[in-house]
């Protein structure tokens, strides 16, 4: 029994060596590492890329933007994934950003609500509990019900990060899915919540931020501010493997646009 197993192992090792050789030409493995928020986009991209280049395997591990960037700088992965812009000190170390998608987060209120235009500061005040009644914003005299997502949700971390209220939010209710947030905002006139832009439907009203309504166009031109880039990070002076280069090219190509849109993000170019 043991012999059979070890023989099989040897055979497997032998094949993997062969596979490694052929990888330099057309196949291979691309290791990506970083932002957990990019899981959906990465899932859609890798799936589509697999059909195009069946010999290339793209691995994704969601560890967080910071560790993805340091991973590519240390050489532990081919492409780092970041759901925020690079910091100057990261760029000094040679990190190069390739923006593959934009992610907009809409602030939604009940359609009955008279308040439809908010400033970024007002939103921060609402979510941290400083403003607790709609009348303070020119609406009806009703308490504000602040709806959000549970800890660990990518939408929550994106929203809190962009608005600058990380860990400081005072939620009235937390929900386990985007659909729950939208459904409950739709059924409560006092409610305000946030959801990925792609998930917003007509049952709720997406508030204007500083006078700009969220849409694909306003996210693209940057005038809608509650957004963040999805960035693929490489290191300056380090040549990518053929497989990694192919994946990066695919992700930034026009071809990827439909998959990025399907995953709920906005194609930037």
């Amino acid at each position: 029994m043991k012999k059979v197993v070890s023989l099989a192992l040897i055979a497997a090792l032998g094949f993997s060596v062969l596979a490694g050789c052929s990888g330099n030409q057309k196949g291979g493995t691309v290791n990506t590492d970083g932002s957990t928020s990019m899981a959906d986009v990465m899932g859609a991209l890798t799936e589509a890329f697999k059909e195009k280049e069946p010999d290339i395997t793209v691995n994704y591990s969601g560890t967080g933007s910071g560790s993805g960037i340091s991973g590519v700088l240390d050489g532990t992965c081919d492409i780092g994934l970041s759901s925020r812009e690079l910091k100057p000190e990261e760029m000094e170390q040679g990190a190069v950003a390739h923006v593959v998608a934009l992610d907009g987060v809409a602030v939604v209120v009940n359609p009955q609500n008279a308040v439809t235009d908010l400033t970024a500061e007002q939103i921060a005040d609402i979510f941290t509990g400083k403003i607790s009644n709609w009348s303070e914003l020119g609406g009806a005299d009703a308490p504000i019900a602040v709806y959000g997502r549970e800890d660990g949700s990518g939408t929550r971390s994106a929203f809190e990060e962009i608005v600058g209220v990380e860990g400081a939010c005072v939620y009235t209710n937390e929900y386990g899915s985007t659909g729950d947030v939208i459904g409950n905002v739709a059924s409560n006139e006092n409610a305000i919540g946030y959801a990925s832009l792609s998930a917003v439907d007509s049952s709720v009203a997406a508030a204007k931020i500083n006078g700009v309504a969220p849409s694909e166009a306003t996210v693209k031109d940057g005038s809608y501010t509650i957004q963040r880039p999805f960035v693929m990070v490489t290191k300056e002076g380090v040549e990518l493997s053929a497989a990694a280069q192919a994946f990066l090219d695919f992700a930034s190509s026009e071809e990827a646009a439909e998959y990025i849109t399907a995953a709920g993000a906005v194609y930037p170019n």
Partner: protein, 278 residues
């Protein structure tokens, strides 16, 4: 044939053992990392800031269950007395199936009705921002535990020997006095078992209360959004990273909940054993 039956019995035992071992193995690491005292008595649960204190969840589960018992037991007990002793046959024949029907309603339906009717009603009456609250959860749980309390208490009341009641009536006690001072005390361990069963059902419920409780890990307060031990697990499981401390801490909550339910079961067995001996 004997072997087949034994095997079936062993399957059940095997699953209990498997679940116990799995829960202990996957629940211990986070407790060790966070520290038992910090985990059980920490007042803040915020996975984003690596704070894993489940005191608000534990207290919410205890308060919620206690509240449901406080409302459900009197109603259930009186219904049982009515059904077992006072109800005309025709009324009892309608009421009894209705109660069993209540037991058959899936918990998600309780949650749905709570979410669509109770929560908006509380929002309007109490002028709350949302209405999802400990109070809403208590009310839903109170209705959910009614069937088990009613049917178990009724069985216990009906098992009281007729002679006791006849003797009491012959001595000149009124019917009411007989029910509450003779029948009920004679059935007390069965009624206690009903209450413990109700506690077990309330503390283990997740779906219905997730839809009405609001799910923010606040310290419990009647009109505020709260998170139970059960809902604490279910709401964060989806997006927690496999192998992360958050995921491990969710298993630890499961372990704590498991211990709670084991304790209640042990207590129930004790009560039932005393009933047998009595």
């Amino acid at each position: 044939m004997q072997i087949l039956f034994t095997l079936c019995g062993l399957i059940a035992v095997g699953f209990v053992l498997l679940i116990t071992i799995y829960l202990v193995i996957s629940g211990i690491p986070a407790i060790r990392k966070v520290g038992l005292a910090n985990f059980l008595f920490g007042k803040t649960w915020a996975a984003g800031q690596d704070q894993y204190g489940i005191l608000p969840l534990i207290l919410t589960s205890i308060y919620g269950t206690a509240g449901a018992i406080a409302i459900g037991v009197p109603i259930g007990f009186f219904t049982a007395v009515f059904l077992a002793k006072a109800a005309p046959k025709k009324v009892a024949d309608i009421l009894r199936p209705t109660v069993s029907l209540l037991a058959g309603i899936p918990s998600v339906v309780y949650g749905l009705v709570g979410m669509c009717v109770l929560v908006p009603a509380l929002r309007n009456w109490l002028d709350l921002p949302a209405g999802d609250s400990l109070l809403a959860a208590i009310l839903v749980l109170a209705v959910m535990i009614l069937p088990s309390i009613i049917s178990l208490s009724e069985t216990a009341l009906e098992a009281v020997p007729k002679e006791y009641e006849e003797a009491s009536l012959a001595l000149g006690a009124t019917k009411l006095e007989t029910y509450f001072r003779v029948s009920a005390p004679a059935a007390k361990s069965g009624i206690a078992a009903a209450v413990v069963l109700g506690i077990g059902r309330a503390i283990g419920e997740a779906m219905a209360i997730m839809m009405v409780a609001g799910n923010v890990a606040n310290m419990p307060a009647l009109t505020r959004s709260v998170r139970f031990l059960t809902t604490g697990i279910s709401i964060e499981l989806n997006y927690s990273q496999d192998g992360s401390l958050q995921r491990q801490a969710l298993f630890s909550i499961g372990l704590v909940l498991f211990l709670f339910i084991m304790l209640i079961n042990a207590f129930l067995n004790l009560v039932l054993k005393r009933e047998k001996e009595a």
